[in-house]
């Protein structure tokens, strides 16, 4: 069994590798292999996997990438992830990808899909719409069509058909991966001192570049190693972090929240790994199974419509209760329409239920952590004071 240190070191190396060497190595291991990038928040990776390709999560350039060319494409009031993604593309770091999928998360990523079509003409590019209508016969039918259309494209790109059995097998692989991720999050919730988010996040991010089978093993290894490790338990405040489902905060920011006295017991980082809440059926029509899972058994996020007023904030509130959280930290990227427009609604729901919260903005390259640490620390202190009262 790998040691905890070696697992975390491996994940950290994968996280820091902006040349995507893991992807290049996977492709080089067998002739004709293809890799398809996707942006947050969600694409059904099962489809890519079923086509024999590697789905690769692209979450911008983080705080290690100097953005030079990317800034020439965006005004100062646009968030950072599109400009660092363009930087990755223009500097050849994404050459290992044979295509890119842009899900319907917001207008910035939507427009980036068209920019990619123009700037990288030799690559397969697809805007991937997910339904905002949750009726199986309406939104479900549309979504099934979208998925079938994507699979047709991938089959052409890969030069081989994708059968329903291929897809069922891939669904099973991702079910396994999702179970491992749920177990990882359950461990962190139960014993956050054993599995700090600064590690859990890296383990999760590794799933963006590793094949799912390998990632599942990695997650299981981490769980075993983390449980075996003896780590001190602190009197920290238990918090849920929300609003970070697209552009990711720098790792230093996650560490700062933890150092400030918070145990993060739930979050929406790298949401794609935990988007579907339970197993997808592996019998019957696999497209319809994926559609049903999306429509009826998926998480909630700002980019997904809440059909009823009373649904707003319910998912977050349940997360708070399920994980025994004492407060919520709204951590959203600057200029993030979905997260920032959603925030006041969620805050109102939390206030109504007496859940304390605090809020700040970040960018993927935020360098000044002192204000974050101060704010998170004050928040943790106030929670402790309230809970003692």
């Amino acid at each position: 069994m790998s040691t905890l240190v070696s697992i975390v070191q491996r994940c950290q190396a994968l996280f820091e590798d902006l040349r995507f060497d893991a992807v290049r190595q996977w492709k080089a291991a067998a002739p004709g292999r293809k890799a398809i990038g996707y942006l947050p928040w969600y694409v059904p990776r099962e489809l890519v996997h079923a086509a024999g390709m590697l789905p690769v999560g692209i979450f911008g350039g983080g705080d290690q990438l100097e953005v030079i060319q990317g800034d020439a494409y965006y005004q100062s009031y646009i968030c950072r992830i599109p400009r660092s993604t363009i930087e990755l593309g223009l500097t050849g770091r994404l050459d290992c990808l044979d295509g890119m999928l842009f899900p319907s998360i917001c207008d910035v990523i939507r427009n980036l899909s068209g920019m990619w079509q123009i700037m990288f003409e030799d690559k397969y590019v697809r805007y991937f719409d997910v339904p905002q209508n949750y009726d199986d016969a309406v939104g479900g039918a549309f979504y099934v069509h979208e998925m079938r259309s994507l699979v047709d494209d991938l089959a052409r790109l890969g030069g081989r058909p994708v059968t329903d059995d291929d897809l069922r097998a891939s669904i099973a692989v991702y079910n396994d991966n999702s179970r491992a991720m749920r177990d990882l999050y359950a461990l962190r919730s139960a014993k956050p001192w054993q599995a700090p988010t600064s590690e859990v996040y890296l383990v999760s991010r590794a799933g963006c570049v590793l094949p799912p089978e390998e990632h599942t093993r990695l997650v299981r290894d981490y769980i075993a190693a983390a449980e075996a490790e003896k780590r001190p338990r602190r009197d920290n405040a238990r918090v849920v972090v929300t609003g970070s489902f697209c552009e990711q905060p720098p790792l230093g920011l996650i560490k700062s929240i933890e150092l400030a006295g918070c145990y993060i017991v739930d979050d929406d980082l790298v949401l794609v790994n935990r988007w579907l809440l339970d197993d997808v059926a592996t019998d019957g029509d696999p497209y319809e199974a994926l559609a049903r899972a999306f429509l009826h058994r998926s998480a909630s996020t700002a980019s997904k419509y809440d059909p009823r007023r009373e649904d707003k904030g319910r998912f977050l509130l349940e997360s708070v209760r399920r994980h025994g959280a004492e407060g919520v930290i709204f951590a959203a990227p600057s200029f993030c329409d979905p997260a920032l427009l959603e925030r006041p609604m969620l805050q109102e729901v939390l206030a109504r239920h007496g859940v304390p919260y605090t809020a700040f903005k970040y960018a993927e390259n935020t360098g000044q952590m002192a204000p974050i640490r101060e704010q998170a620390g004050t928040f943790a202190d106030s929670i402790k004071l309230w809970s003692a009262a």
């Binding site: 020439a72 494409y73 965006y74 005004q75 009031y77 646009i78 599109p82 842009f102 319907s104 917001c106 207008d107 910035v108 939507r110 427009n111 980036l112 899909s113 068209g114 920019m115 079509q117 123009i118 700037m119 697809r126 805007y127 991937f128 719409d129 339904p131 905002q132 209508n133 009726d135 016969a137 309406v138 939104g139 039918a141 549309f142 069509h145 979208e146 259309s149 700002a302 980019s303 419509y305 809440d306 059909p307 007023r309 707003k312 600057s334 200029f335 993030c336 329409d337 979905p338 920032l340 427009l341 959603e342 925030r343 006041p344 609604m345 805050q347 109102e348 903005k361």
Partner: protein, 438 residues
């Protein structure tokens, strides 16, 4: 997003311009009447709907006798009347981020201030929010926010984006199914009025006529001199058809009158009417991408006409419907046609389509170049505009320029900065002309 009420012009226009004023006053009368209808909807026993300009299903809403409110128009009218700055700041004080759409904040600020509309008359709480989710992500959150505040019924119409530059049958079917199974039943239930598809067809016949006349007006700018300004002037022209009037006989009449006036100006070889009278000489012909700034609309326009710059075509005048490439509402297939209308609105087009459109405008309207007015708080338009600029320059060889402002946040309008950039840009066009590069 559209339809400012025309302000009185500074000097009394000469006699032939009175005809022009007729259409402008007619439009003002329409807009004001709509605000009166909204203000008195409750006492008249009418239900109230709210929806957005892109994907505005006005003909459908009329089938249920709704009084019709358009929050974008309310926000821009408040911007024109210099009221939006306080509303935006009130919303920010109430917890809304400084980073997000100022239309939304102006609307929420208006709610916080007792829902007094731009004309000073009260705006009623909507009975139904028709969330036509077309070409703008913010719409979804906007109506979720309004719903959270008011608790009113909301019906979502998800309009898929033209990611690969075409409308597929599956996209159209998806929208039609939502209309049949979600939107129409909700509107029936809220209004208490049974849906009558023949009534919808009748409205759509009216829409066709108005659309035909609007296109004729907009395309008159292909002439030299252009008898219209296709941006600052066009926002008046698109007012009725983009808001609460498309499909009504009033709108048809407005566009008939307007077309007659523009054709008369064309025959007389006249340029566009500006707030300070008729433009004497057309020196520059520009295409503009992006919405205007509303809080300093007049000042912004003046920068152009003072230099003899006429906007001959704009993308913003297509935000509530792209009609100049052939689309018309089709009463023979009403729901399918409504779906295609929504799917075809400008901000629902992908980037290659938008760039193609602009390049085509530059060619068809013999423009000297492209000016982009980038709006701080509108990602649907603004994200990626710098690539549009590069691509259009590359493909057409015409110079492009970039200015920045905001929709209704007066804090983000820097007149000196914009004027400097515009003047530099026009000098660049002159230099190109001097070198024989057109």
């Amino acid at each position: 997003m559209t339809a400012p009420t025309p302000q009185p012009v500074k000097a009394a226009p000469a006699k032939p311009q009175v005809v022009k004023e007729d259409a402008m006053w007619l439009q003002k009368e329409l807009i004001n009447r709509n605000y009166r209808e909204l203000a008195t909807a409750r006492e008249a026993g009418r239900k109230v709907s709210a929806t957005f300009v892109p994907g505005n299903l006005n003909e459908l809403l009329m089938c249920f006798d709704f009084a019709r409110s358009l929050p974008e128009t309310n926000a821009l009218q408040n911007g024109m009347r210099k009221k939006s700055g306080k509303l935006v700041m009130d919303a920010e004080r109430d917890g809304h981020s400084e980073d997000v759409c100022t239309y939304v904040k102006a609307d929420l600020g208006m709610m916080l201030n007792g829902d007094v509309g731009p004309t000073g008359e009260p705006l009623p709480k909507p009975d139904v929010l028709l969330l036509s989710y077309t070409g703008c992500f913010t719409f979804m959150k906007w109506f979720e926010l309004v719903r959270q505040k008011y608790g009113c019924e909301t019906t979502m119409l998800h309009v898929p984006y033209q990611g690969d530059g075409r409308i597929s049958p599956a996209m159209r079917d998806y929208v039609v199914k939502q209309l049949k199974q979600e939107v129409i039943p909700t509107l029936e239930r809220v209004s208490g009025v049974k849906f009558d598809i023949d009534r919808l067809r009748e409205y759509m016949k009216e829409s066709q006529k108005a659309e035909e006349d609007l296109v004729s007006v907009l395309q008159s700018a292909k002439n030299r001199p252009s008898p219209i300004d296709g941006y600052f002037g066009a926002v008046y022209y698109i007012g009725p058809i983009f808001t609460a009037f498309r499909g009504s006989p009033d709108a048809t009449e407005y566009y008939r009158v307007l077309r007659g006036e523009i054709e008369a100006r064309l025959r007389a070889g006249k340029g566009p009417i500006t707030p300070e009278g008729e433009l004497a000489e057309e020196k520059y012909r520009l295409v503009v991408e992006g919405p205007p700034n509303w809080t300093s609309f007049r000042e912004f326009w003046k920068m152009f006409y003072d230099e003899g710059a006429v906007v001959v075509a704009s993308t913003y005048s297509k935000v509530g419907g792209v009609y100049d490439f052939g689309f018309r509402h089709d009463p023979s297939r009403p729901l399918e046609s409504l779906a295609e209308y929504c799917l075809g609105c400008y901000t629902n087009l992908n980037f290659p389509q938008r760039i193609d459109m602009i390049c085509r405008y530059i060619e068809d309207y013999q423009a000297d170049g492209l000016l982009i007015n980038s709006i701080k708080s509108c990602n649907s338009f603004s994200a990626g505009q710098l690539l549009i600029l590069r691509e259009v320059e590359k493909r057409t060889g015409k110079p492009a320029a970039f200015v920045e402002s905001d929709l209704v946040d007066p804090r983000y309008f820097s007149a000196a900065n914009i004027k400097n950039r515009l003047e530099s840009y026009l000098q660049m066009i002159n230099q190109k002309r001097a070198r024989g590069v057109h």
